[in-house]
Subunit: 346 residues, 2 copies
């Protein structure tokens, strides 16, 4: 995750390694960010910190901020969300304790950390940073469409929240395991926390959306791959602007379509059917060929979490036959996933 690439001024760079803050959370689904970090950035997670009442754990060692600092932590990441995306009063003394211990605070919540006076004062007192990942980066350029060196893969989707980040991370792990020089390029909050860097594409001003994607995956050696986390869907009536700017600016050589076969309606929008995988392939090639005429679809990442192993196997085989493309679930891995990796690198 910590590639020795030049650090770009427009990119958000997070201070790693982390102490994960779990608050007083009792509901595991609220701690998805912490679980994602413990899974995908294990080598950057020193431990976890909770306040009384918490029952959720990532399995990492429990450390106080002072102990984590002693062990090398540079920031404490708020790894939980609660309803409303706010910071509970009960969390504030724990966050102040971290600042006093010499850690920065990293947050992906809606509320700005510096809007809480206790945190602003503690940060100033200790010379520490309050890092809001939702902050739009400044000084981004307008896109130029200039062809860059190196290879790029973008995960796209039939909708939001069905595995685009997971798929890009799993492909990055597989590429690296095969000795392919590759970087994961984060475009969303959790992805940025995992990678320790990236650009929150949904927070970028529209005029600079393609330009931000160009900055995110700069010129590289010919054999190098950037594995770019996709956002939204070209067919999502709320977020397609983000998806198209990311597609144009990423100029991918290869894309993988992420799909959840149980999702029939666009998340949160009644009356909008999820498009077919074929429609997404066709439209991604048509729009993506504007900045990379050689764009091709390597296959499909199918979210089969609702199925048992036999059902999932049968479904992936049937879809692969129907589409004449590799179809795999990166969570299940196996030969199907290796075939998808082969197709990406072909």
């Amino acid at each position: 995750m910590n590639a020795p690439l030049p650090r770009l001024s427009q990119e958000l760079i997070l201070p790693q390694p982390y102490l994960l803050f779990l608050g007083d959370t009792t509901e595991p689904s609220f701690a998805k960010t912490a679980f994602g970090l413990a899974h995908w950035a294990a080598d950057q997670c020193i431990g976890e910190f909770t306040i009384p009442g918490a029952t959720v754990t990532t399995g990492l060692a429990t450390l106080t901020p002072a102990e984590a600092k002693e062990a090398g932590a540079r920031s404490m990441v708020i790894g939980v969300a609660n309803q409303g995306g706010i910071i509970g009063r009960s969390w504030i003394s724990a966050l102040v304790e971290a600042l006093d211990a010499g850690l920065d605070i990293v947050s992906g919540l809606h509320v700005r950390l510096a809007s809480i006076p206790e945190l602003e004062q503690a940060a100033a007192r200790n010379g520490r940073r309050l890092i809001d990942i939702r902050n739009p980066p400044g000084d981004l350029p307008v896109g130029t469409g200039r062809k860059r060196s190196g290879k790029r893969l973008l995960t796209v989707g039939t909708d939001c929240a069905l595995g685009k980040k997971y798929t890009a991370l799993a492909l990055h792990r597989a590429f690296t395991k095969r000795g392919v020089d590759a970087d994961f390029r984060a475009t969303g909050q959790t992805g940025i926390m995992i990678a320790g860097r990236g650009i929150p594409m949904d927070a970028v001003i529209s005029d600079f959306e393609a330009g931000a994607a160009e900055v995110l995956s700069p010129d590289a050696e010919d054999r190098h791959w950037d594995l770019i986390e996709g956002q939204g869907s070209i067919f999502n009536p709320s977020y397609a602007a983000v998806s198209l700017g990311l597609l144009h600016g990423s100029q991918p050589d290869v894309f993988v379509v992420c799909h959840d076969p149980t999702r029939k309606t666009i998340l949160g929008l009644n009356g909008f059917d999820v498009p077919s995988v074929e429609e997404v392939i066709d439209m991604t090639i048509r729009l993506g060929s504007r900045t990379n005429p050689a764009i091709r679809c390597a296959g499909v990442s199918l979210n089969t979490s609702s199925f048992d192993e036999g059902e999932a196997e049968a479904l992936m085989k049937a879809e692969s036959k129907r589409l004449q493309l590799p179809v795999a679930d990166p969570v299940r891995g196996g030969a199907a996933f290796e075939a998808l990796v082969d197709a990406c690198l072909a």
Copy 2:
């Protein structure tokens, strides 16, 4: 231009009528904004104001800020740009004079008015506003795709800067002349100055791009038309994110393709051909049908400014035959343009 519609909090509302400021401009092409306002918002322009050295004029009466205020002006609009989009030192005393006379200042330049200490102080001293049209509006919602009442027309293009604003304004004028209840909806800086309201779509954060377009053309009576100024092009590698968010959020019933037959390459981008009108029609229908399955192309607005009248007539006829659609140049008007208006309203 001043429709009695509810004023939306997310929209930028400008204080009209205007005094037009021309600075010390000697180059007419730098005064395009002032000319546009004098032409399209004549009833909102009280006069013009210059400083010594200026040779450019809109033909409006020359008034001092104090005289303009007396005559009813509420703001002075900077109607000129210079290279770099900056505010020359020679302009500042004139702008201060306007603030002291009780006028607000409206600017579409890159530099923020309030970043100039003399202006900030004069505005504070007089209780006046410094309005930067490039400022992104706040509190915009995420798009929902919900079908709204009333009818909508969007001008789209094969590229930037080839007549989308002009076409929407000309259609608005023609609709109004025929007694059709219609509003021009501005999405760019000059358009917003003309209409006195609107949303600068290129300054909106990507996540809210479609939502901003939804806010811009709210529910209306069934017989009412919103004529929405398009931005960029779906095929423009720099700005397609803006164009797609605007298309999805506008959910147009009808679109008109704006094209300049002499433009072969995307403005400012070597290596990118301008797409054909047919490609833009096809892609606009495919993408636009996501939020309005009944979307249709009414015809083509052809920028024939490089041709003499005979050539222009022949070209429009040939294009109309080839595309089987009305083709007109709104600057030339005439029967061809009336046929385009017919097709829009059909």
